[in-house]
Symmetry: C2
Subunit: 323 residues, 2 copies
C-alpha cells in the first residue's frame, strides 16, 4: 500500500514521459501547454488508489490514469475556449497563446490520445473499462452543457436539485469513475465498484460545496483566490441558489439589486445577506451530509479497513483545506 | 456481394437509428444538425466494401462504419468553427445555429460516441481496429493543423511535396483506413490490408486533384459550385502550387499581382495563366498517375477479381464525375 504522496510521484514519473510527437509543432505545443499548467493529478492518483484498494498496483492503472488525466486536461482546454478565459492557474490559457483554431484542434487530438492509452490495456476488461470511461466522459460534456444552459438563466429559475445534478456531472463523475476504473483493474466485483464510485461522487460534491464556501467565507490568503470572486461575477453557486431559496422576499429583492447594479460594496453586502439567511451554516451542514454519504459508501466496500487508509487520507486532504 | 447503392442504403438504415439521447437538448441537437447536412456516407460504405472484399458482411462493419461517419462529421463540425464557415452544403453550419461553445462541445461528445461504437465490436480484433482507427484520426488532425499552417504562408513557400503530404493526411487517410478497417473485419492479412489502404490513399489524392481541377476548369452547372471559387479566395490548390513552380518569372509576378489585387477579371486571367503554363494538362496527368497507383494496389489484393467490382464502381464514380 502506498501513500497519496508516493502514488502522485509514481504517476507523475509515468505520465511526464513524452506524450506527443514533435510535429506539427503548433498542434502538439498547444496540447503540451495545458499539461504544463494543470494541477495535482488527483484523478489518476484516485485510479491508482482504486486499484490498490483491491490488489497490487498494475501497469494498466497507470495507462488508465494517464487516459483520465489527458481527458481532464482536454476538458480544461476546451472549457477555457468556451468560457473565453484568458488565465488558468496564473498562466495564459492555450487559446490565448496559440489561437482558437489550434486550441480546438489540440483538444481534439488529445481526446484521441486518451483512447490510445485505453487501447493499451489488457483485453479481458477493456470493454468494461472503455464503457465506464465513456459514460463518465459523456456525462462531463453533458454537465458542461447544462452549466452553460444555467448561465443564461435567471438564478431563481435554476432549481437546486438540477444544480446538484449538473455539478455532479461536471465535476464529480470523473472522480468517481477514476476510482471505479482502478477498482476494475484491481479485480473488484460490481457491488464494490458501485460503493467506491459513490464514495467518489459524494466527495466531489462535498468538495464543490466547500469550494463555493471558501470563495465567499474563506481566508483569501490561505485560499489563494480573491475573496468573493464568485459573487463579483454573479456566478451561480450552491450558496447563491440556496440563499435565493431561503431568503425573505425583501432579501431576494436586495440580492437581485446587488447582482444587477454591482455597487463597490457588493461582496460585503452579499456576504451579509448570505449570513443573515444562514446560508453559511447551511453550507457547512450540506458539505457534512455529502461527506457522510461518501464515508458510508467507503465503509460498505468489502475489504479490510487498513486498505482504505490512503483514500481516507486523500478525502481528508480534499475536504479539510483551510479549516 | 452488394453494389454501391445497396450498401449505401443498408448503411443509412443502420446509421440513422437514434444516435444520441434527448437531453441536454442543445448539445444533442447541435450534434444531430451536422449529421443532417453532411453527404454521401462514402467512408462507411468503403468500410463495408473492405469487409466484403474478403468475406461476408458482418455487423461489426456497420458499427465501425458508424464510428467512421461520426468521426468524419465531428471533423466537419470543428473545421467549420476553425474556418469560420457560415454555410455547408447550403445549410447554416452548427456554430452559426447553436453558437461556438455548444458547437465545440457537440463535436467533443460526438468523438466520445465514436469510441462507444468501436467498443461494441468483437474482442479479438478490437485492439487492432482501434489502433488503425486512431492512427488515421490523429493524422486527420495533423493534416488540419498543417493546412492551417500553410494558410498563413506565402504560396511559393509551400513545397509541392509538403502539400501532397498535407492533403493525404487531411482527406485521404480516412478513406484508406475505412477500407483497411473493413478488410480487418473481413479477416484480411497484413499484406492485403496494406494494398487496400494504399488503394484508398491514392484514390483520395486523385480525387482531390480532380476537385481542384473542376473548381477551375469544370462546367459550373454540372459541378454545382461557382467556377474559380478557389481562385477568388487565393486558396492553395494543386493547380496554384504547380503553376507557381512551372511558370516563368513574368507569369509568377502577374499571378502574385492578381492574387494581391483581385481585379474583376481575376478568374479569367488566372485561368489563362494556368493554361499557358499547362497546369491543366499537368493536373489531368497527375490525377491519372495517382489513379494508376490506386488500381495497381487494388490489383495486388489477393482475392478473385470479381470481388473487386464494387470498389472499381465506386472509384469510377468518384473519379469520373463531370467528364
Amino acid at each position: 500500500m502506498h501513500s497519496f504522496k508516493d502514488l502522485t510521484a509514481q504517476f507523475s514519473q509515468h505520465f511526464e514521459k513524452q506524450q506527443f510527437p514533435e510535429q506539427p509543432s503548433k498542434l502538439y505545443n498547444a496540447a503540451s501547454h495545458i499539461l504544463g499548467i494543470s494541477g495535482k493529478r488527483i484523478r489518476p492518483v484516485l485510479c491508482l488508489m482504486g486499484n490498490e484498494l483491491f490488489d497490487d498496483l498494475r501497469t494498466d492503472a497507470f495507462e488508465v490514469g494517464s487516459a483520465i488525466e489527458l481527458f481532464h486536461n482536454f476538458t480544461l482546454l476546451h472549457d477555457d475556449i468556451m468560457d473565453k478565459a484568458p488565465i488558468r492557474r496564473g498562466k495564459p490559457t492555450v487559446h490565448t497563446v496559440y489561437g482558437e483554431p489550434a486550441a480546438i484542434l489540440a483538444g481534439d487530438v488529445m481526446l484521441i490520445y486518451v483512447y490510445e492509452r485505453l487501447n493499451k490495456i489488457e483485453t479481458h476488461y477493456k470493454q468494461k473499462i472503455i464503457s465506464v470511461f465513456n459514460k463518465a466522459a459523456i456525462e462531463v460534456c453533458e454537465g458542461q452543457q447544462l452549466d452553460m444552459d444555467f448561465e443564461g438563466m435567471e438564478p431563481e429559475k435554476v432549481q437546486y436539485d438540477d444544480y446538484v445534478h449538473m455539478i455532479g456531472l461536471k465535476t464529480s463523475v470523473l472522480l468517481a469513475a477514476s476510482l471505479q476504473l482502478g477498482a476494475i483493474i484491481g479485480g473488484a466485483g460490481e457491488g464494490n465498484q458501485q460503493h467506491i464510485y459513490s464514495f467518489g461522487k459524494n466527495i466531489g460534491i462535498a468538495f464543490q460545496i466547500q469550494d463555493d464556501y471558501l470563495d465567499a467565507f474563506g481566508d483569501p490568503e490561505k485560499f489563494g483566490k480573491q475573496q468573493g470572486g464568485d459573487i463579483l461575477v454573479n456566478k451561480k453557486t450552491f450558496l447563491l441558489l440556496k440563499a435565493l431559496e431561503l431568503c425573505t422576499p425583501e432579501q431576494r429583492a436586495e440580492l437581485k439589486m446587488l447582482m444587477e447594479t454591482s455597487p463597490a460594496d457588493k461582496v460585503e453586502r452579499v456576504l451579509a445577506l448570505f449570513r443573515s439567511c444562514k446560508v453559511d451554516e447551511w453550507a457547512e451542514k450540506e458539505k457534512e451530509r455529502f461527506q457522510q454519504l461518501a464515508f458510508q459508501s467507503l465503509d460498505n466496500v468489502a475489504v479490510l479497513s487498513n486498505r482504505k487508509a490512503a483514500l481516507m487520507e486523500v478525502a481528508n486532504y480534499l475536504l479539510n483545506r483551510q479549516q
